[in-house]
Symmetry: C2
Subunit: 90 residues, 2 copies
């Protein structure tokens, strides 16, 4: 069965406060890092999945993202999917 590589990015909706990001931004200023205007912390989930085709893999990963990886009340998610051997095709 073909193997697919996926990356799901989960980020807080822009209307939701990010206290961890704000704390990191303050700490960065104390460390002498200047010019930060935005810092928001999200999740990046690295996945490998076996599926019969890319449609099947997409369906499984959309279910996973919606039900387990993200909280749709406060978070958005974004899925990138590619065949696991895509680098060796070229």
């Amino acid at each position: 069965m073909p193997n697919f590589h996926a990356k799901v990015q989960v980020s807080l909706r822009t209307s939701v406060l990010d206290p961890a990001g704000e704390a990191t931004k303050s700490a960065a200023a104390k460390l002498g890092i200047k010019g930060l205007t935005k810092l928001r912390i999200g999740k990046a989930i690295d996945i490998e999945i076996e599926a019969s085709d890319i449609q099947e893999a997409t369906a499984q990963l959309e279910l996973l993202s919606d039900r387990l990886l993200a909280n749709p009340v406060i978070e958005d998610w974004n899925l990138e999917l590619s065949p696991a051997n895509s680098l060796s095709i070229t």
Copy 2:
């Protein structure tokens, strides 16, 4: 001063166990999601920074990633940086 958009991906080193990822993988199996062979959870930090040029922005963000965003004992990080107006240039 030019504005830059950056994304820092922080992931656990492959030799480090990821209990949260393993728990999510088990929960996915119970939810009926088949074929997952790998699931590891990392962080994705979305940043905007003002700097005089891209070298300056890179230097500030490398310091930030090494000192605050990642724990270099157990985590690797990867920085993607682009001018904030890159979409409107084309």
